[in-house]
């Protein structure tokens, strides 16, 4: 029973971190209509930033979080218009071209990181690494609790921004109906750049947290892309609220399969679930997708 509770808690904590970047991923789909294959690449890059700040500069890993947001936010802001142009270009199939572009970006990031840093695994050192927290019968690593709290703070700020500010309203309006939003005076092009920047920044922050909890190497990017896809399919593409639920579910499924069946089966279980959901309910189990 203790193990059962502990697994549940671990799963929820990881799910919380996953939720941060999947919310942003969904937002990007809603606004840009692009499925970003590169999402795992941003996560890993964030992790590496944390690693270099912690081991190169001797700072605490958590200090890399704001740096990651600013740095990757800027990169995303510059990349956003490129993606927007491809998605809205007059080539024969802009949707596929945009998908291919992010796929190429992901491959480029992965290859570049493998070339630069090799296959070695690095982890982000923080003041809390190695400590653990005991709550009654359950013991969890303190780092996971801290990471989940950071993630919750990020997610809450994002939701406040989306639902309590004028600009958030513009973003939600654009995701709901881009033409009407444009008619109401929203500059879709600039908004797309901002959303992509926001998304890249948040994803890199989640990457720092993931690097602190697990560790990073260039090959794990694929895993995070899978997570984002899983959540997107479960919640329905573009559904932001559903992403939180689906991400928590993903964390729990992964934790239980790893604990009770074996960690080599966890990806298989995730893929199988993803596949079944796609077959049974292509618009997501919450039926809110596009």
């Amino acid at each position: 029973m203790d193990l059962f509770l502990q697994t549940l808690l671990n799963g929820l904590l990881i799910g919380g971190v996953i939720a941060t970047f999947t919310i942003a991923f969904q937002l990007t789909f809603g606004v840009l209509h692009v499925i970003d294959f590169a999402v795992g690449g941003w996560v890993v890059l964030g992790g590496y930033l944390g690693y270099y700040m912690a081991s190169g500069l001797g700072l605490d890993g958590f200090l890399a979080i704001p740096v990651a947001f600013v740095l990757f936010g800027a990169i995303g802001y510059l990349l956003g218009p490129v993606l927007y142009n491809v998605r809205n270009s007059r080539t024969a199939r802009p949707e596929l071209m945009a998908l291919a572009l992010t796929f190429g970006l992901f491959t480029l990031l992965r290859g570049g990181m493998l070339t630069a840093w090799g296959f070695n695994t690095r982890s982000v050192a923080t003041a809390l690494s190695g400590e653990s927290l005991t709550l009654g019968p359950v013991t969890v690593p303190l780092i996971r609790v801290a990471a989940a709290l950071f993630a919750a703070a990020i997610a809450c700020s994002l939701f406040l921004f989306l639902y309590r500010t004028r600009y958030g309203l513009a973003i939600r309006a654009t995701a709901e109906n881009r033409n009407n939003a444009a008619l109401m005076g929203v500059n879709i092009r600039r908004l797309s750049a901002n959303v992509y920047g926001l998304y890249a920044g948040i994803t890199a922050m989640a990457g720092v947290l993931m690097g602190a909890i697990y560790s990073v190497n260039p090959e794990v990017g694929l895993r995070y892309t899978l997570f984002a896809f899983f959540v997107a399919v479960l919640a329905g593409l573009g559904s932001v609220g559903g992403a939180v639920v689906a991400a928590l579910l993903l964390g729990v499924i992964e934790a239980y399969v790893s604990t009770y069946v074996g960690s080599s089966y966890s990806l298989l279980a995730i893929f199988a679930t993803l596949f079944l959901v796609l077959l049974i309910s292509p618009r997501g189990i919450l039926r809110r997708g596009l």
Partner: protein, 328 residues
Amino acid sequence: MAAHAIRTRWLGFLFLAAMLVVLAVLPWAINNYWLRIATGALMWAGLACSWNMLGGYAGYINFGHSAFFGLGAYSSALLMNDPFGLPFLATIPAGMAVTALCAVAIGGPTLRLRGAYFAIATWAFAEVLIQFATVMDFTGGTGGIGLPPFLNERFFYFAMLVAAVLTYLVTWALFERSRFGLKVKALRDHEPAAEAMGINTALVKLQAFVLSAVAASVFGSIFAYWVTFINPKSVFGGDITDQMVVMVLLGGLGSLWGPAIGGVALFVVNRLIWMNWGDTAFYIAILGAAIVLVVLFLPNGIAGLFARRGGNGALAKAAEKLVRGGER
């Protein structure tokens, strides 16, 4: 105009015949090292063509095409080994049958999904197969599985050559010269309209998907016997799909010869990098950069550059669309 068209057509046939003759005598003109590279180039040209059947002609991006390559490879490997011990040539149709069954099972439901969901579903399917082959015992797990060695480079060269020529012939006959091809292109350009014209789009998509899967499985079978040892990463790996996608994008999406140009060009680059630096991580970065650059600056690929006016080149079509003001 007619006379001109006939003359170009004859020139085309002459060029093709000359190329086939060159390819047929090539094994006696080069050493074994280069023969292996030529064999690989033929394989990739064929694989890129098989991906293009669905990706280029029907407009459905398949990010899990390596699944079918791997199914062919594993079918051959398992059937040639002990309890079965079948001869190699008998395992090819067996692999094709297994692949066709899987393709129908996968394609039936997923081809109803929108493009993006289909891309994710196929990708997930390929990853499931990797994981499955890794955790199962009968596939040899991570360690992989060996095949009876057969060290005759010329045999494999000609096997790949025949497979590649057949793939291109089938593509030409079915996608460029038949009603089926017109249906596929119609649903690519506007699916609801194609359906309204009475085309059974679900069936046509499934046919194109199975065709492309079966073609990939043939190359998988030959590849497994050629390299005599396979493991989940080497035949199901995402890198295989990545390469096919890049080759087709580079060569030209939805053109007959684009995949051949892209496939051969990229494979030769791959080998040159391997020879000079012995490093494949760098090649992945180059693949990525190639996709990005092609999407941004050459959306119709190399073949698009050579498209004849009024021909079926993508460039010509794009220009036509621009002239008409583009309905989008």
